[in-house]
Amino acid sequence: MSLQGKVALVTGASRGIGRAIAESLGREGAIVIGTATSDSGAAAIAGYLQEAGLQGTGLALDVNDAAAVDAALDQIEKAHGPVAVLVNNAGITRDQLLMRMKEDDWDAVMDTNLRSVYRLSKAVLRGMMKARWGRIISIASVVGASGSAGQTNYAAAKAGMMGFTKSLAREVGSRNITVNCVAPGFIDTDMTAVLAEDYKQKLLAQIPLERLGRPEEIADAVTFLASDKAAYVTGNTLHVNGGMFMN
């Protein structure tokens, strides 16, 4: 197992892609700290990890609360040691045509999807620099590269992640810390369950592999980037989208 004993922090691990990532990293031997916004969500994370015989626990954390992020990192370090793998997965959508978009919609998406990446990455870097090993992996989106009507806020945040990733990769490469993104396409989770059926059919028609992706398929890409097999990959975005968008 390639991540034996390493502490992995996965934000938004209560369901969907984050849960699949937490389970996959756990199977590689990592001690997984998964976060949710509620105590019940955190308890559920602890529950599924334990049930699968994986190491780690759940933690309630709102990534928009700076003080809570600092406190959580302190708590993790005291209980398990410094974070070696950070997966910035927590994310939301507030879709709306720009002409109708409220500042609240813009701010909420920017804060949860992008500001959180700044905040969490900064908080884990000290430990990674000392360890001379670290992995920061952010879950972007195909729309950050391709664009998507109704998602100016979301696409801007996801493209922002990619620029952040390239810059940080340059800053900390000399310390053996790699920084990458995984950009999912159209994945079967709560986030996409709300989409209208005819819109889904239209999206499917653009996917050469003719199906939605599974959360596990995103988790596999994240687990690869976290492993030593990806030691020479940094500053990159790995697109996992069934061919929906080709770079």
């Binding site: 000290r126 620099m129 000392k130 800053e171 900390v172 310390r175």
Partner: protein
């Protein structure tokens, strides 16, 4: 117990991978000892740990040579 100057020099030597004998009290981390900007951030982290203090970013930016580090530590130690 070693004095503060010696402890600071020891940390600088470790962090920047230079010989302790080559470090003078007025050695600049960047110009004389070959540190890059990330090295200086790490150096401040190491000083914080050695002297169990927290050096705010505004103060950290002003510490560019050995003397300034020693002065900072002396002024803030045991407060």
């Amino acid at each position: 117990m070693e004095n503060i100057e010696q402890r600071v020099k020891k940390i600088v030597a470790e962090q920047l991978g230079v010989n302790e004998a080559d470090i003078k009290i007025d050695s600049s981390f960047v110009e004389d000892l070959g540190a890059d900007s990330l090295d200086t951030v790490e150096l401040v982290m190491a000083l914080e740990e050695e002297f169990e203090c927290e050096i705010p970013d505004e103060e950290a930016e002003k510490i560019t040579n050995v003397q300034q580090a020693v002065d900072y530590v002396k002024a803030h130690l045991g407060k």
